[in-house]
């Protein structure tokens, strides 16, 4: 099956936040009480109940013209996903359609995915301390809709075409065409998500550098998150193996000696 993706075009986003509402409605997420932080951006970020947000950024454009930038922000559904690598129970997994699915009944709320995500996406919710009921929450690409021939709730509701759902290859071509067009006005325009982490399943059309939109320029899975699998795990097996072999050797030699001593006596 062809890989699916979403095309996110901040240049078309009006920050209506219909996607935030649609996401909450479809996924039955409760609204959160927030406080005025001096920004129109609200809710302030992702949470166990908020799986998609719109980020607001005020930047100075050419000739001092202020620019108000809106970025839909949620799970990027990386091809090389740190969360999937770090998840010890297989609760997070790659779906054949390309996105990163979550099987919450397998989640034990350990939080390893939280520390492995370069985008700060997964959110642990539930009863803290007791730990039994803690689970991780994030955008699941509306798996229940997508696998049944529907588009994700956010894409379905977006009135301005800032969120589009489709085959990844087709969307990438569309993104590149759009960038070509934007370059006339914004020379720094570029596609984001085509190569990052071997390809995201959120493809952005940006009219400026990623950092302007609060996106990491070159997202990487944190070294410490892969150190465990790349180094410590093999090292652990070696340590146990060498110890076991050494002890067995010692036992055989030492026992042979004691038996010989006993016979001599």
């Amino acid at each position: 099956m062809a890989e699916k993706a979403m095309l996110l075009d901040p240049t078309r986003c009006t920050a209506c936040r219909g996607c935030v509402v649609a996401c909450k409605a479809w996924n039955e997420r409760e609204a959160e009480k927030t406080t005025n932080r001096g920004s129109y951006e609200n809710p302030p970020g992702l949470s166990p109940n908020t799986w998609t947000t719109v980020r607001f950024a005020e930047k100075e454009g050419p000739n001092g013209v202020p620019r108000w930038l809106f970025t839909v922000y949620r799970c990027m559904h990386c091809t090389d996903a740190g969360c999937v690598k770090a998840c010890p129970t297989g609760a997070l997994y790659h779906h054949e359609l390309g996105f990163v699915g979550i099987q919450r009944d397998r989640c034990i709320g350990c939080g390893y995915c939280v520390s492995a995500c370069p985008f700060g996406v997964p959110q642990v919710g539930g009863v803290p301390f007791a730990g039994v009921k803690e689970k991780v929450y994030k955008c699941h690409f509306c798996q229940d809709r997508v696998t049944n021939g529907l588009e994700p709730a956010c894409a379905k509701t977006c009135p301005s075409g800032a969120i589009r759902f489709g085959d990844r290859e087709a969307l990438l071509n569309e993104a590149r065409a759009r960038v070509e067009k934007l370059r006339a006005r914004y020379p720094g325009a570029r596609v984001y998500g085509d190569r990052e982490l071997k390809g995201l399943h959120m493809v952005y059309v940006l009219d400026d550098a990623p950092k302007v939109y609060g996106l990491p320029e070159n997202p990487q899975i944190p070294v410490a998150s892969t150190l465990w699998q790349d180094l410590l795990q093999p090292l652990g097996y070696v340590a146990v193996g060498v110890t076991a072999v050494g002890l067995l050797l010692n036992y055989l030699v030492a026992r042979a000696r004691t038996i010989r001593e006993r016979e001599r006596r």
């Binding site: 998840c87 010890p88 397998r106 039994v132 465990w228 795990q233 010692n250 036992y251 030492a254 000696r257």
Partner: protein, 224 residues
Amino acid sequence: MREIERFRLSTRFLHWTVAASALLLALTGILLWVPAWGAAAVGGWSRLLHRIAAVIFMAAPLLYALFNWRLSLSFVKEAFTWGKEDMGWFQAAPDYYFGGDESKMPPQDHINTGQKLYQLVSILCSAAFFLTGLLMWFFRELLPIEVFRWAVIVHDIAFILGGSMVLLHIYLGAIHPRMTESLRSMVTGKASVEYVKSHHRKWFERVIRATEGESPQGPDSKAA
């Protein structure tokens, strides 16, 4: 057979409490270590057990220290006191533990240099487990996520180091052909005078001197 007290009851009780909780911690922790076993952790039961065992693992020695602070202090001090004599043990250890050649082994104290090394590693690893465990349990959301990341790494390193040492400890205490009374002394508290004389001569002579030929008393009760 004359016997001598090696470990008082409260010490033995602490040892086996810590040993049992450590075993539980290792078994529930290793599920997240070996990828193929991760599925067994589903449901969170191992996570809950890990936390219960962690509380016991940490509370037991702290409670013990509260009631036996003098002994606990000397236990810690002992682990951090290293001298030239310890080098002698390291030089003689291969011949001793493989070949049973005791001639080069300098007289050992209540615990020998190897046991002291284990004591040191277990204190350091316990401290590392304790601190990083607390961080992961209570402070993931309060501190920068980098702290959590490195806490996991340190927890893992402590497991590799401490786990290997535990294997060594179990082997030398219970399996090695020459350590015939090590396990028994941690169960019953007593070891034969003959065994103590050959394995812990330095300590033995001190105890004899202190008691001046009376029936020798335990180690933990040096004052007795």
